[in-house]
């Protein structure tokens, strides 16, 4: 035998087959179903977004490695995952420059500038996405289907409209490229089964979100409401693929649970009280920032130093599970539970009363636009018809107008004297404008009023002054036309100077109401 030099090293001398690259490629593979569904549903443009995002992410790392003479890490799969995640979290109608810029920002700024793999402090894909949202907001939040602007399901839900959960679950209901909950779940659960992502994180995200939404979402633990919220706005993608990012999440199980609950609660909090669309991205990023803190202070003790083990070492009886949980935790849990039950109880008990009250209030404002009516009657058939529109934008040509409600005005003897249509238009300069249009039986507009408007004081808010509002009253037209000034014909309206958006939103809203009257109410097609 040859006297070859033997390798000397410290043990162990056996290694598992899994490598960093294998794990990253598995995550990428788990994202494939969602990618395929996203491209199949949204078409070639979505495919291009995915391609550009992935190529830019990997390319950026390649260029950086080469220029800085760093070890070649671009093929370790992590840039691939970042690129995929970024693309899946973008709107399918995003302009093509966005995935490129987003991926470069994600890899170069959020990851490589902080030391590369394992050193970044926030999830690179989310950093890229939020960078795009902040810098190119209008382009990013534009969701088009077949060339028509639509709202994301969560935006619709926030409006208080109905959404189609089945479509959301399958990924055909609009939203980002990776919107298919089914496809995301398939990939995510496989990763969980392979022990690549941690159950502590995704389960606590989902549970934290659901419980908080149920407690404070205003609709109690209504399954439809909760499911709709879970299926939209990136909750599933966030819980399975973004919150579970290794580098930016805690390592200890307890830390992971705290982190997950934090994301769920923050996500729900933002969604209830903040802007609906991107609550989850921001909640994950904020939790990412807390990870170092969690890691510093939440360190589980080794088995031998835990309470149960010390009791066993001293030959004591096993400590019952209840006694092992710190008392404040139990107290807090009980209080939360009671509060939740109480809130849900109050909600369901007062639901009808509140609805009646709201209708009474509405009746008062309807009276202003349809003065000849004594009473306002709701029709179940009509309500159902509007609910069936599923909160979709009303017809073409009225901007983002939604029909909210339509009521029938009757005189003292119960004869119909006109209708009131409540319309929300989402194209206001500052936000949604909700208005009521009163229409007499002779097709003339009897008046309009605003129930929700918060435009610029002195400019857009002038819409609420009689000078502008009265232009609509008494007119008998198919629809109104907005002019800058010099309105002469019956159907022409003078716009507010310096408030083009507001003027257009109001006119579109009124026209939508009129159209609904002509096409639905007048024809009587809603009567069974």
């Amino acid at each position: 035998m040859s006297n070859a030099v033997l390798n000397i090293s410290s043990g162990p001398h056996a290694r598992d087959r899994w490598t960093t690259r294998f794990i990253m490629l598995m995550v990428a593979a788990a994202l494939l179903p969602a990618t395929i569904v996203g491209i199949a549903v949204n078409g070639v443009h979505a495919g291009l977004i995915v391609l550009l995002s992935v190529v830019s992410a990997v390319g950026t790392e390649f260029v950086f490695d080469t220029l800085c003479h760093k070890p070649k890490t671009y093929l370790d799969g992590s840039a691939l995952v970042t690129g995929l995640l970024l693309a899946l979290s973008l709107s399918p109608s995003t302009p093509l420059y966005a995935p490129v810029i987003g991926a470069i920002f994600a890899i170069l700024i959020a990851k490589l500038c902080f030391g590369g793999l394992g050193k970044n402090f926030i999830n690179p894909a989310l950093a890229g996405r939020c960078f795009l949202l902040i810098s190119f907001g209008k382009d990013m939040t534009n969701f088009e289907i077949d060339g028509v602007s639509t709202a994301t399901p969560i935006a619709v839900l926030a409006e208080g409209h109905a959404v189609d959960i089945t479509k959301m679950f399958l990924g055909t209901g609009g939203g980002v490229i990776g919107a298919s909950i089914l496809a995301l779940l398939v990939g995510g659960l496989v990763l969980w089964a392979m022990d690549i992502i941690h159950g502590q994180i995704w389960i606590s995200v989902i549970v934290g979100f659901t419980v908080f939404m149920g407690l404070f979402g205003g609709q109690g633990f209504d399954p439809y409401f909760l499911l709709a919220h879970l299926c939209g706005g990136g909750v599933v993608m966030g819980a399975f693929f973004m919150a579970t990012d290794y580098t930016t999440s805690p390592v200890s199980r307890l830390g992971q649970t705290v982190y997950g609950v934090m994301i769920g609660v923050l996500g729900a909090l933002f969604r209830i009280y903040g802007s609906a669309a991107d609550s989850f991205s921001y909640s994950i990023i904020i939790a990412n920032l807390f990870t170092p803190l969690i890691e510093t202070y939440i360190v589980p003790k080794p088995f031998a130093y835990r309470k149960a083990a010390i009791a066993a070492q001293n030959g004591e009886e096993k400590v019952p599970l209840l006694k092992r949980i710190p008392k404040p935790v139990i107290t807090l849990a009980v209080i939360t539970l009671l509060a939740g039950v109480a809130l849900s109880g109050v909600y369901s008990a007062t639901k009808d009363i509140i609805a009646k009250q709201k209708r009474a209030e509405a009746a008062a404002s309807y009276k202003a636009v349809l003065p000849q009516a004594e009473e306002f009657v709701y029709s179940d058939a009509l309500d159902e018809l509007i609910a069936d529109m599923g909160g979709e934008i009303y017809s073409n040509g009225y901007g983002k107008s939604y029909i909210r409600e339509a009521v029938i005005g009757t005189n003292a003897s119960g004869e119909i004297v006109g209708y009131v249509v409540s319309v929300t238009n989402g194209d206001g300069y500052k936000g949604d404008i909700t208005l009521s249009v009163g229409i007499s039986l002779d097709d003339s507009v009897s008046g309009i009023s605003f129930t929700e408007i918060s435009e610029t004081p002195g400019l857009g808010m002038k819409a609420t002054e009689p000078e502008f509002m009265n232009q609509f009253s008494g007119k008998n037209v198919e629809s109104f036309v907005l002019l800058k000034s010099g309105a002469a014909a019956e159907n022409e309206i003078d716009g507010l100077s310096g408030a083009t958006f507001t003027s257009r939103a109001v006119v579109n809203g009124v026209n939508a109401g009129l159209s609904f009257y002509h096409n639905v109410l007048k024809g009587g097609t809603w009567i069974e």
Partner: protein
């Protein structure tokens, strides 16, 4: 009883190489070298000098102090030298070198069967001590010391460790198949020392034949049962085994006896049986020779002091055209690397692995930054946070390493390094840090005395 311990991993077993190789006795021909410090505790003091004739079973060095063990000659011949020789750890240690005459003449009074029905506890302990028995699981703690805890009545379990969770190793599997009755009798003898204890024999389920043989041997014995355990590393660690059998986790500052347990390897129990019944001291034991580079993997009964080279040659040497890259003593998880094969085996040597591949070398090439994936924390059988420990060590934050992370509780089982997808040398770092912290403590203590 729980079914298994928390954490752990499943390294490739590779036991198929040698699991069907029946135990063979191997009598070496060359000189025999007996390091004086091959157990935990103080090295033994030689009681022979150069030129003295020795016989098989004769004591050549005696225990120095309470925690120490006698060294027994495994051959007959002449003392050639008492000098420093290279040993397994790589250090040069004082060794007794015996010129083997190849006759293997037994010393007197060995091998005759004794009736032990009326034997006292003191006699058992004395015979175990005389036999120079140490724990054959690997650590080499003097058995006579282990069997004499302060409060023997508080011992609830005597656990026979037949788990053999290290990959490749199959010698205890073979021993249990061949000497089941003797091992059980060794356990019964041990149980005589602990009136309130029951015997539990733990074996991993990948050794069905051994489980069957031991179950058969236990039939009708009320106080002894066989516990088959899921195959998972490090199930054979003393602490993992106690966690399953007694349901207790205990810090490294405590001994198994502090939580009412005595754990002995099945090989040790067999040695106890031989020592008590035949008055035969410990001079041979079982070991596995395996690995992809050796021609005929085998399970051998080898004599202490034999050189690794002779053992390799007994197994047909290396395969044709294969270069030996790494030679391991013990299993791949906790074994040590040999710098040369011209080194003698210890009493505790249970394996020689001859490998043409060095997985550590491959891993080094694949190493990436730590991902924080947390796989190390899920597998740690001690419930430690290896990822955080490595980070604290890297930053030189030994305060956090020791106090917050309990880094010194690491038992160096190697599971975290094994599982790490980023191929970080975690256990290696922890061993280093532990020795640094302990050295600093010793220095501080010495400084305090001055």
């Amino acid at each position: 009883m729980k079914t298994t311990f928390r954490g752990g991993a499943h390294p490739k077993e590779r036991k198929d190489l040698s699991e069907n190789a029946a135990l063979l006795v191997f009598d070496a021909k060359g000189e025999m070298v007996f390091p004086l410090g091959q157990h935990i505790g103080k090295p033994a003091k030689p009681v022979v000098k150069r030129g003295d004739p020795v016989l098989v079973g004769q004591r050549i060095a005696e225990a120095d102090g309470f925690v120490s063990a006698h060294i027994i000659s495994s051959c007959s011949g002449k003392v050639k030298a008492i000098e420093k020789r290279r040993t397994i750890s790589g250090a040069m240690l004082e060794c007794v070198v015996i010129e083997n005459d190849g006759l293997y003449t037994m010393a007197e009074g060995i091998g005759e069967k004794h009736d032990i029905s009326g034997i006292t506890k003191e006699e058992i302990l004395s015979l175990v001590k005389e036999a120079g028995i140490v724990g054959l699981g690997g650590a080499g703690f003097p058995t006579a010391v282990k069997l004499a805890p302060r409060e023997p009545d508080k011992i609830k379990y005597v656990i026979a460790n037949g788990v053999e969770c290290e990959p490749y190793l199959t010698c205890n599997d073979q021993l249990m198949q061949l000497k089941a009755a003797e091992i059980v009798e060794g356990l019964e003898i041990t149980l005589k020392l602990f009136p309130n204890a029951v015997g539990v024999i733990g074996i991993e389920r990948n050794k069905p034949k051994a489980i069957e043989a031991m179950r058969k041997a236990c039939q009708g014995k009320e106080k002894i049962s066989v516990l088959d355990l899921p195959t998972k590393y490090p199930q054979g660690g003393e602490r993992s085994l106690i966690q399953v059998v007694a349901g207790v986790d205990f810090p490294t500052s405590k001994l198994p006896a502090d939580v009412g347990c005595i754990v002995d390897n099945v090989g040790t129990l067999y040695a106890i049986y031989r020592a008590v019944v035949y008055h035969e001291p410990l001079f041979s034991h079982v070991m596995t020779v395996s690995g992809d580079a050796v021609k005929n993997p085998a399970n051998l009964i080898v004599r202490d002091g034999t050189s690794f080279r002779e053992i390799m040659e007994e197994c047909g040497g290396l395969k044709e055209g294969v270069t030996l890259k790494k030679a391991l003593v013990g299993g791949p998880m906790m074994g040590l690397t040999l710098s040369s094969l011209d080194i003698p085996i210890h009493k505790t040597t249970n394996g020689l692995l001859l490998l043409s591949q060095d997985e550590n070398e491959i891993a080094e090439a694949q190493m990436t930054a730590c991902l924080h994936c947390g796989r190390c924390t899920t597998v740690c059988p001690q419930g430690l946070m290896p990822q955080m420990m490595a980070e604290a060590a890297e930053r030189g934050n030994l305060e956090r390493y020791e106090k917050k992370l309990y880094g010194l509780e690491c038992i160096a089982c190697g599971t975290c390094t094994y599982i790490c997808p980023a191929k970080r040398p975690l256990t290696q770092v922890f061993k280093q840090v532990k020795s640094e912290i302990l050295a600093a403590r010793r220095a501080a203590a010495a400084g305090g005395k001055k």
